[in-house]
Amino acid sequence: MSERVVDARGSFCPGPLMELISNMKMMQVGDTLELLSTDAGSAADVPEWVKKVGHEMVDTEQDGEGTWHIRVRKAK
């Protein structure tokens, strides 16, 4: 199992969720991904997609500089 970090801070296009989806395609089942995002919308739209597809949310937190750290595990 591996963990990758995707730094999507400052990404308006394609944006954090598109970066996450692209990277999930390169991962194996059981791998985790930490998405760094400065877009507050990521805290809502990432879990929405993860739930719809059937992957797993690990945790979500915002650091002192305003960056969201969203961890997702590939489940299928």
């Binding site: 400052g10 394609p14 598109m18 395609k25 390169m26 929405e48 997609w49 719809k52």
Partner: protein, 379 residues
């Protein structure tokens, strides 16, 4: 300084020409040399394929001889690189020739891979090559009515194309009097109709006005050609009569084979554009080849190339780079056959697209001709 540019597309060409102009004296006196290696003797204006697909341009209009675009003094070889030996500062080409360098610029671009999605290649059309754009036009002009579905793979270059192709097809079908027999169904990977929130806020009401239906959070998983339906990872199934694809992309195979980056995307510093890692100090990466979380678009390559050329010239003349790449991107958005708008943004500033106008469309059509001046580093 020996500068080696790998790739004769938009990023490599703009970089080489900008730099050559800035270090003209150093090149003349033998203190600097620019060599470009490309897989092709042709330079293609890829954004033009949209117009080929709509029967408004022909492929030959979009092609120039690469050598004719380069500043005098730039050494050009059609000889693709097969091996990168970054620790030893040299590359080996298909011909077997070895090129040594002090600085290498990698701008090899990306490629569409419809075959990554089962059933997609054989059951859909796209406008990502000249041949495919011609085929697109043939199939669209033979379309007699039914459901046209737009499906989008990730990652892909030209982020505006899903919207542009939908608007363009709408006008194409309207002009042929087939609107009452045609249903447009647009799908998109995330929870709105475009990655840029402000563009999505503009485009969704446009779709509503036009009667274009849309489904979001739709990532194609496979195409079932037998039953003419596209299936999504989210569990959706959409029937089609004509399937229009924005295929998923990868970087070039040579990048993967040489272990420079997963899927052909090279890890790149977002400000300096240097390759990350121990051998990245004298390696710059431009355009689609980077792994940066920004649009894979010609304008990205253009602005990166200008920054990189300015910095390399400054290093040669003053010993230090002068600026950072700020993530600038400028994308026109064709909103049909006679209106357009644009999105301009960087790492810190989101775009604020305006309502489409005929004037912006006219500017875009003009730019399609002016592009060759951009490639030469003049515009």
């Amino acid at each position: 300084m020996r500068i080696l540019v790998v790739g004769g597309g938009m990023g490599g060409t703009i970089f080489a020409n900008h730099l050559a102009r800035r270090i003209h004296h150093e090149m003349k006196t033998g203190k600097a040399r620019i060599t470009m290696l490309s897989a092709s003797h042709e330079h293609v204006y890829q954004p033009g394929w949209l117009y080929v697909a709509m029967g408004r341009a022909t492929p030959d209009e979009l092609v120039r001889e690469q050598q004719s675009l380069l500043e005098p003094g730039i050494e050009f070889h059609v000889d693709p690189v097969e091996e990168f030996h970054l620790a030893e500062n040299h590359v080996k080409c298909k011909s077997g020739k070895v090129h040594e360098y002090d600085l290498i610029v990698i701008s090899t671009g990306s490629r569409p891979l419809p075959e990554k999605i089962p059933g997609l290649k054989e059951n859909s059309i796209n406008c990502y090559t000249a041949e495919n754009a011609v085929e697109f036009f043939k199939q669209l002009s033979g379309f007699k009515g039914g459901r046209i579905v737009v499906t989008v793979g990730l990652p892909h270059k030209c982020p505006m194309i899903p919207l542009e192709i939908t608007f363009a097809m709408y006008d194409f079908i309207k002009d042929r009097g087939l609107l009452d027999k045609t249903e447009f169904y647009y799908t998109y990977p995330i929870g709105r109709v475009h990655s840029l929130e402000n563009v999505a806020k503009w485009a969704a009401p446009e779709f509503d006005r036009m009667g274009v239906k849309y489904e979001t959070l739709f990532n194609m998983k496979e195409v079932d050609g037998k039953n003419a339906q596209v299936l999504s990872e989210e569990g959706g199934a959409v029937k089609y009569d004509l399937l229009v694809a924005v295929p998923p992309h990868k970087g070039q195979e040579v990048i993967e084979k040489n272990g420079l980056g997963e899927n052909g995307w090279i890890p790149t510093n977002r400000s300096s554009l240097h390759m990350e890692g121990e051998h990245g100090k004298n390696v710059l990466v431009l355009g689609d080849t980077t792994n940066l979380p920004i649009s894979k678009a010609g304008s990205t390559a253009h602005f990166e190339a200008e920054t990189a050329a300015e910095n390399v010239a400054a290093v040669i003349k003053m010993g230090r780079p002068v600026r950072s790449y700020d993530g600038k991107v400028f994308c026109f958005i064709e909103a049909g056959k006679d209106r357009a708008t644009y999105a301009m943004f960087d790492y810190k500033t989101p775009p604020q697209p305006k309502a489409p106008t005929g004037a912006v469309h006219a500017f875009k059509m003009s730019y399609n001709k002016l592009y060759w001046a951009t490639a030469r580093g003049l515009l």
